[in-house]
Amino acid sequence: MGSLLIDMPGNFAVVLHGEADCANSFRHTQGPSGTQFYTTRLTQVQFASGQTAQPLRRCLELLIREKAPDAVFVLGNCLMEMIHDDFETVAAEVSRRTGTPVVALRTHGLEAGSQAQMVDWLYSTLASLQAASGTPAGKKAKSLNLIGLPRFHNDDIRLELEKGLAAAGLAVNGRYPFDTALKDWLTIGDAEASFVVDRSLFPKLIAKLEALGQDCVEIPLPIGLGPTQDLLKAVGGKFSCGAAIEKALAGDAARARRRLKSFRSRFGGLRAAVGLRMVNNYMADQLAYDGLGDLPLFLEAGFEVALFIQGPPEEKAREHFRRRLESLGCRLPFTVFPDPFDLPPLLKAGEFDVAYLAGHARGEARRAGVPLIPGRSLEPFYAGAVRNLDYLEQVLDEIHQKRSAAALSGERRTAGASEDGGPSAAVEE
């Protein structure tokens, strides 16, 4: 929860309610809001004697007076759960007195809840703030929310999306969770409809939005040509403006189609290892469709794909994964591995040309001699589809050059050994 909030800009504060070291449970530099985090730094005596309310109350009062935040989130830790500290009462009391929404959340680590549950919990909480802050939901016709899209690393992606929507008279109310600040969550109810990547990730959020009278339409993660087209069709279908969007983006779509065709003609039939469940980063795009959101890109590019799922090695877990993949319409071969340390022999045995795995597996991929494309580094929409294929081509060219050079040097070494009647220096090396 701390990681997700630190990544969100806006005029809010977060109070970590517990001992000092609990403020060390996330990376403090990963987002814009680390300077808005506070901790009650409870001492052992305060904990043991139950004197936990006063430090929290004091911290809240001081920061609300000094910073005047639009909202404060109080995150209770494991110690607070252990004694079932009633910090919700303090939060409600301060909120009532100051008029600032203070949201108390029990974010202890004693429940092995899923990342998806955590993400849905936070986003549904943020979506509730519009009502809690008294901001009336003013419906904006032909405006839409996009929920669960990946982060846009390049501006041409945003421009392409806006061009397509603008041609149909549509406007984006908010793109959640990335590229939205707290103020955007305070107006999430204003859109006419929400388009959601993997609805199953967000049951609580969708219930909130539907209660506000919004239609919530499922869209794919737009990585690759096909998913991008499907997303645009879904938007066009809902607002009856598919033709206008298609016309506005016809050039972009044609460029992506040409790029895909040329890529397939050069590289079709190569083998890709795609890793799942390797990262705990609470990112909605990573979690979408159990991590299969990027798969269509590899399939449409002509790769033969095998999945590598990090998880317990027991047969019942394997059976669970098999059923889950089937329910998502995926019948690709898969291997379950408990620890990235185990990956090199598996990757080597599979003779893969490329591995799409969590970035922290770079060492394992290197040991297996397979080039790594870090997970979630692929970009969305037509412009992204072209860039993804450029990137893949570059990686594949490099590895092919290396492999050709290695094969050539192997041939030379063998030739050297036979000429000399013994091992050459190169062979000994």
């Binding site: 990681s3 800009p9 005029n11 109070v15 517990g18 001992e19 000092a20 070291d21 609990c22 403020a23 060390n24 449970s25 996330f26 990376r27 403090h28 530099t29 987002g31 814009p32 809001s33 680390g34 300077t35 808005q36 985090f37 506070y38 901790t39 009650t40 730094r41 409870l42 001492t43 052992q44 904990f47 043991a48 004091r58 911290c59 001081l62 920061l63 007076r65 000094e66 910073k67 830790n77 494991c78 110690l79 759960e81 252990m82 974010t107 202890h108 680590g109 004693l110 429940e111 092995a112 620890d339 990235p340 340390f341 922290h360 770079r362 060492g363």
Partner: protein, 464 residues
């Protein structure tokens, strides 16, 4: 009603600090510094981010997650008792990794149950062919250096000092903080070796230095140990732990004056004649002097009267401040990023020991919050009074983010080791832990005379 000065100070104590790292991160980092060791974090789900996750982006030289496992205690295990998990995890992970040394660190809420984890670790030790240490890591107090020290002590306790005769002239080092397998540390360790050898001493193992556990046991053959200032939290325990003469050094060999004072202190501790030190100093000063003159003539006109801000843990901050004065960088603001290495008093004592005089108006903040760092730095910059920042990713990131994220022109233009633009860009040099944007491919120390020159080079690269 606006806050009074006292209330602001009170709020500052609640704010997220530039050094939020606790004992658990320190233990994890120390395990990472022993390539064949393994750490079991006996924790809930949330605590596992306090370990390898905190430095996996800092170290591109070696994956940190291979040497760490988690018991992931849930509420049910908490109720039923979690202690039994320790033996199971120790055995399973040893089977997979064949570690030479293992440690078990336990989190705050589990410590509060009163279960006997030390006994469980001891019982587990009898079932695997390697030592297993239990390191409690309650999070109420203590910082990274406390945890790093606790693990270092656990290793020292296993060094066979009593069974090994000391070798005359062999000196071991204790208290080196090795946080990544990159070439900044390789450079520093080379410098430490060079400095000791230039005194005619043999450099034994360094605790900890990225070397295997068995090699660390070689400390037993050292005649004497020198403790770097990072060993301050446990310096008093060292003589008893080691059974060898131990000298606690007040300084790091950082900056010219700092390096020369360090040499003199090490020489005195090891009975090396003053004339040897003087000869070393003369030689190195002759070598570096003209290059430092070049630096000053380059940097001076570019910085004009603007000040330098330095953020680092106390001993490194003292070294960098003395180096900054020597380089003509006019330090104006220092933030001390620790809670265990002596704070302002130790900083001033170390600085005084170098013989370098800091500006009288030098402002010193002890463990400042991210918010304060950002407010002070941007405030100075807006008044045209800040020309350079040396700091870790924590401070540099805070300066370019925060409440007015994206609004302040500096926040947009600031880059690490910034070479972009000449307008608002504030030159910065990323140094210390964590460094996410500065990585090192060839030996680039910040210790020793070579380190001073390397630092000057990095600064030259960002001053335009």
């Amino acid at each position: 009603m606006p806050l009074s000065a006292e209330e602001k100070a009170e709020l500052e104590r609640f704010a997220l600090s530039t050094h939020p790292f606790g004992r658990m991160t320190g233990v994890s980092m120390a395990i990472h510094a022993i390539p064949d060791a393994f750490l079991i974090l006996h924790t809930g789900v949330g605590c596992k981010y306090k370990g390898a996750g905190q430095y996996c982006l800092h170290d591109l030289g070696r994956p940190s997650h291979h040497r760490e496992g988690y018991t992931e205690v849930t509420d049910m295990a908490l109720i039923k008792g979690s202690v039994e998990r320790i033996g199971i995890y120790v055995r399973n992970w040893h089977k997979k990794r064949k570690s030479a040394f293992m440690a078990v660190a336990s989190s705050t809420f589990l410590q509060m149950t009163g279960e006997d984890f030390a006994a469980a670790a001891a019982a587990a030790e009898s079932t695997v062919p390697c030592p297993v240490a239990c390191i409690p890591t309650p999070g109420f107090d203590g910082d990274l250096y406390d945890g790093y020290g606790d693990l270092s002590k656990a290793v020292l306790r296993r060094v066979p000092f009593k069974k090994t005769p000391p070798k005359p002239g062999r000196v071991g080092l204790v208290g080196y903080v090795f946080d990544r397998y990159e070439m900044d540390h390789a450079g520093n360790l080379q410098q430490l070796k060079f400095l000791l050898e230039s005194l005619g001493l043999e450099c034994g193992p360094t605790l900890l230095s990225g070397r295997p556990y068995a090699e660390l046991m070689g400390l037993a053959s050292c005649e004497r140990l020198l403790a770097l200032p990072y060993a301050r939290p446990y310096a008093g325990e060292l003589p008893k732990l080691c059974g060898r003469p131990v000298t606690a050094l007040e300084l790091l060999p950082v900056g010219m004056a700092g390096t020369f004072r360090w040499l003199a202190d090490a020489a005195e501790a090891c009975g090396v004649a003053k004339s040897v030190v003087e000869a070393c100093v003369r030689k190195q000063r002759d070598y570096a002097g003209p290059q430092l003159d070049t630096f000053r003539s380059y940097a001076g006109p570019r910085l004009e009267a603007r000040r330098t801000a330095i953020f680092a843990e106390t001993p490194l901050a003292a070294g960098l401040t003395s180096a900054a004065v020597e380089l003509g960088l006019n330090p104006g603001l220092v933030g001390l990023r620790d809670r265990s290495l002596g704070g302002k008093k130790a900083f001033l004592a170390a600085l005084a020991r170098t013989g370098v005089r800091a500006p009288e108006d030098l402002e010193i903040l002890e463990c400042p919050s991210l918010d304060q760092v950002r407010t002070r730095a941007l405030g100075l910059r807006d008044r045209g009074a800040l020309g350079l920042v040396l700091g870790s990713q924590m401070e540099l990131s805070a300066i370019r983010s925060g409440r007015a994220y994206g609004e302040h022109p500096l926040a947009r233009s600031l880059t690490v080791d910034s070479v972009r633009g000449r307008g608002d860009a504030l030159p910065t040099v990323e140094i210390g832990f964590p460094s996410y944007d500065y990585h090192v491919l060839f030996p680039t120390p910040y210790y020793g005379v070579a380190g001073t020159l390397a630092l000057a080079q990095r600064i030259m690269n960002v001053l335009h």
